[in-house]
């Protein structure tokens, strides 16, 4: 059985065009299926450039005619029949809203809604007239009329075997393998997917329009989609089998195989046929519901103050104020500032809102050059083109201050806090709240930073202040010499001893015959001296070898210049300087070295008794002073000790980040205040001491406390 009897002559003329449509639709009685109204309501309408719309069928006719003419003149077809076969049918598949195959009602949809869609499929019969091959005349039975469309592809139109030209194509079925969105708003999806469904039409002997039942599916509009008209492209993957009628008992169904060749195939055996993926588009107009949304920018920083190296993370977000921002887009502009001056170019872009609204996070890594700087980042939001979000609160800003973390270092000695001024031997008020709190780099850096080479005892916690620093082979840092040696946890390196040594009432030891002194201490010889009221030491003091000087001051002392031991001395003529103050001691910001013992006790009213390591006069310099950082940016080295009711360590130079190279052996550190406790404080006895002999031998024995 041959599919197409190519050895039989066939002459078919496909001459008609739009005129036939007019003829058929207006001059003949029509059935309900193919009158003009049916056409108008069942085929897609195309908009012309002038804005008018008309059914696509006009284009179909033109395409049929043009293709026929082209085939006829091309010479590539061996027979008239082949010519017509190649321009026999015009098939259109298109996607529209459900129930609107014309695609003229693009009723707005709302974000998040589900839109019922349908796939339309119509075959339009191109060649509807055949000719008697013997005489090119159209027999009545071959003529296309309203009720007679028999000749679309009759293999041998005038052959009695087929008379009256039984239909050629009878049925077409396409199995849909998938329907996927190729392009469209992010988040859009298809449900009620037509995958697996058969889309097809059957011959309609009363019409040139063979209409397939529509295939439904649902398009889900993304929630929060911005207003606008969207073009959505759907790729449909399908395989088609054409079934031809009256060709005999076999070979009536054909398809293009996967190898590209046409072949007879079993009815419905789509798997062996070629699959095609074709794009189809539809448009949706989205109109958000509810009131217009509004939003504001927000910039936060996790650390409002950092040291170096340190990090601060800026987070820039869009915060909904009203309505839903889902699906909205914003222009954003992020600018970084250093001390109020823009640094680097702005970060600009478009942000598509999603839950949380975080646009961007920027990490700032500080360096030593940043010390004292304020780093800010700001965020400015604006609508994208066509956006309608009401935006308030522009710009948002957050800042971090890059600050030194100055620290204190104690070499050769201990630290004790919490003991009060003795009122009787070993009798004093202990301060249960007295602890030590500083900055330390922790275990990752061998507890470099604030700390003591030897012991620390505290009534309360010892926080980020290590003991036993640089102690090799003995008690380990950070709590090996902490009293109490409680377990290390979260920066607490011990403490809470519950006991502290009382501070001797040194001022009470003032000799009755202490001579009065002024600010020039360098000229003094060994002995005890006294002053009342404010004493300003405004010249550099040099204590010469062998001089052992005690100065008792009933009032405040303002140390404006260094107090030094002269350079060359031996154990036989050690210098000693003790400043015992019943009041406050203010140390000028420019002072870099103090040798000796400095004691500040409470005055008779129970006030004062503090040592301030940075001042610009005999008064307290507050850290909130804008110039504080620069004023106090000098290191203070104390070759001796401080004893006071309160010690305010105010030097801003150095930072704990640079403490890793501190060395107790060489006595070097990056600390703001460094104490070097040394034997001069106990070898060289003050002049009023009861024992005033000489040493035969000096050695160090454990424990090193």
């Amino acid at each position: 059985m041959k599919f197409i009897p190519r050895n039989r002559p066939l002459f078919i003329l496909g001459f008609l065009g739009t005129s036939l449509l007019i003829f058929f639709s207006s001059s003949l009685p029509v059935s309900a299926l193919h009158n003009a109204a049916w056409v108008d309501s069942h085929v897609q309408w195309q908009k012309a450039s002038d804005g008018t719309a008309k059914p696509t069928v006009v284009g179909w006719e033109n395409d049929c005619t043009a293709t026929f003419n082209s085939n006829k003149s091309s010479g590539q077809y061996g027979s008239q029949r082949a010519v017509v076969n190649a321009s026999a049918y015009n098939q259109t598949i298109w996607i529209t809203r459900a129930g609107d195959p014309r695609d003229v009602n693009n009723t707005p949809v709302t974000p998040g809604s589900s839109v019922n869609m349908q796939i339309n499929d119509i075959l339009f019969l191109c060649s509807i007239v055949t000719m008697n091959p013997s005489g090119y005349s159209i027999s009545a039975s071959h003529e296309v009329t309203n009720g007679n469309y028999p000749n679309d592809r009759a293999p041998v139109p005038d052959d009695a075997q087929y008379d009256p030209n039984p239909a050629s194509r009878y049925e077409s079925n396409s199995k849909i393998y998938s329907a996927t969105i190729a392009k469209g708003p992010p988040g859009g999806s298809i449900s009620n997917n037509p995958t697996g469904k058969i889309m097809g039409y059957k011959r309609d002997t009363t019409s040139r329009y063979w209409d397939a039942p529509t295939v439904p599916f649902t398009y889900n509009v993304p929630a929060g989609l911005a207003a606008g008209t969207y073009t959505i492209t759907v790729n449909i993957d399908y395989a088609t089998i054409q079934t031809y009628h009256d060709y005999g008992s076999s070979g009536t169904s054909r398809c293009t195989l996967k190898n590209g060749n046409g072949a007879d195939v079993p009815y419905g055996d789509f798997n062996i046929c070629e699959r095609r993926t074709e794009p189809y588009q539809f448009k949706l107009t989205v109109q958000p519901t509810g009131p217009p949304a509004s939003a504001r920018p927000q910039t936060t920083v996790d650390n409002p103050q950092i040291a170096f190296p340190g990090t601060a993370t800026f987070t820039h977000s869009v915060i909904p104020v009203s309505g839903s921002l889902s699906g909205s887009n914003f222009n954003y502009l992020i600018q970084r500032y250093r001390n109020g001056v823009p640094t680097g170019g702005p970060q600009a872009g478009v942000y598509g809102y999603s839950a949380g609204g975080i646009i961007k996070t920027n990490v700032y890594n500080s360096s030593s050059a940043d010390a004292g700087s304020t780093i800010c980042e700001s965020l400015t939001l604006s609508n994208v083109v066509g956006g309608t979000i009401a935006i308030t609160g522009n710009p948002s800003q957050a800042c971090t201050v890059i600050a030194n973390q100055p620290y204190v270092k104690v070499f050769g000695g201990d630290v004790s806090v919490g003991g009060g001024l003795s009122t009787a031997p070993n009798v004093c008020n202990l301060n249960a709240s007295a602890g030590v709190m500083a900055w330390n780099l922790g275990a990752g850096n061998a507890f470099a930073g604030a700390g003591s080479q030897y012991a620390v005892s505290a009534m309360n916690d010892i926080t980020d202040f290590s003991t036993a620093q640089g102690n090799t082979g003995g008690a380990p840092a950070p709590d090996g010499l902490a009293f109490a040696d409680n377990p290390v946890s979260a920066g607490t390196f011990g403490g809470s001893l519950g006991y502290a040594s009382c501070i001797s009432d040194y001022y009470s030891r003032k000799p009755a015959g202490a001579a009065a002194t002024g600010p020039n201490l360098s000229s003094l010889s060994s002995g005890a001296y006294a002053a009342t009221g404010l004493l300003t030491l405004n010249t550099q003091t040099v204590i010469n070898p062998g001089n052992r000087i005690q100065v008792y001051v009933d009032g405040d002392v303002y140390i404006q210049k260094n107090i030094l031991y002269a350079g060359a001395w031996t154990t036989d003529n050690m210098p000693l300087f003790e400043l015992i103050v019943r009041g406050n001691i203010y140390i000028d910001a420019g002072v870099q070295q103090l040798d000796g013992a400095y004691i500040a006790q409470k005055d008779t009213s129970g006030g004062r008794g503090a040592i301030y390591t940075c001042a610009t006069g005999p008064s307290i310099l507050l850290p909130t002073d804008p110039a504080f950082y620069n004023i106090c940016n000098n290191k203070l080295t104390v070759n001796g000790s401080f004893t006071a009711d309160q010690i305010h360590l105010l030097r801003t130079t150095g930072t704990v980040a640079n403490s890793k190279t501190d060395n107790p052996t060489t006595g070097t550190s990056s600390a703001g205040e460094q104490f070097n406790f040394n034997p001069t404080l106990w070898i060289a006895q003050p002049p009023a001491a009861s024992t005033n002999g000489t040493y035969d031998a000096i050695t160090s024995l454990p424990p090193v406390l």
Binding site: I4, Q44, Q46, T56, G59, W60, D63, C64, T67, N85, A86, S87, A88, Y89, N90, Q91, T92, I93, W94, L123, F124, C126, R153, S168, R169, A182, K183, G184, P185, P186, A226, A227, G228, T229, Y230, T231, I232, T233, Q242, Y244, R254, C255, T256, G262, E278, P279, Y280, Q281, K283, N329, N331, A348, G349, V350, G352, V384, V385, G386, G387
Partner: protein
């Protein structure tokens, strides 16, 4: 010892030859310098790009093209066309071409693609913010073909007998 006259002639001859050589050398040096300068200017001019579309516009174009929002894309296209020298910025033209494809103005899109190809070459590297970093004439053509196919499908296809 040659006559004094010969010596004088010889000196003149040497001076003449030396002068000619110097002149030729000078001309060559001038030509060389001019070539270097010209090449430098050429390179500088060639590398100098007209930037009319900022990164924000590029990013908006990327988003709108991806979403198929014809309305907003149309607004963006207006903004771009109002910029000076947008027609000399290949990234602007790329966005506008995508807009034409999105709204189905395929003849204009085809002309724009041809213009981009002839002006900047097939291998031109467009901004990485376009098409998720995949912007190229090839990609543009693929978008064009997708819509072309979709339009063809919606108009109907001659379906020959198998």
């Amino acid at each position: 010892m040659p006559p004094l006259k010969d010596l004088i002639v010889g000196d003149n001859y040497k001076k003449s030859v030396l002068g000619t050589h110097t002149y030729v050398l000078l001309v060559l040096v001038v030509i060389l310098i001019a070539s270097i300068v010209s090449y430098g200017i050429y390179k500088r001019e060639r590398s100098r790009k007209t930037v009319a579309c900022s990164q924000v516009i590029i990013e908006q174009g990327n988003i709108l093209n991806g979403s198929g929002n014809m309305s907003a894309f149309g607004e963006l296209a207006k903004v771009i066309r109002q910029k000076d020298n947008y027609a000399k910025d290949p990234n602007c033209l790329y966005i506008l071409t995508e807009y034409q494809i999105t709204v189905g103005d395929l003849p204009a899109a085809k002309a724009a693609i041809d213009h981009l190809r002839s002006t900047y070459g097939s291998g031109y590297a467009f901004d990485k913010g376009l098409d998720g970093g995949q912007a190229s004439l090839t990609n543009l053509l693929q978008q064009f073909n997708l819509v072309q196919n979709a339009q063809d499908n919606s108009k109907g296809r001659i379906d020959p007998v198998l």
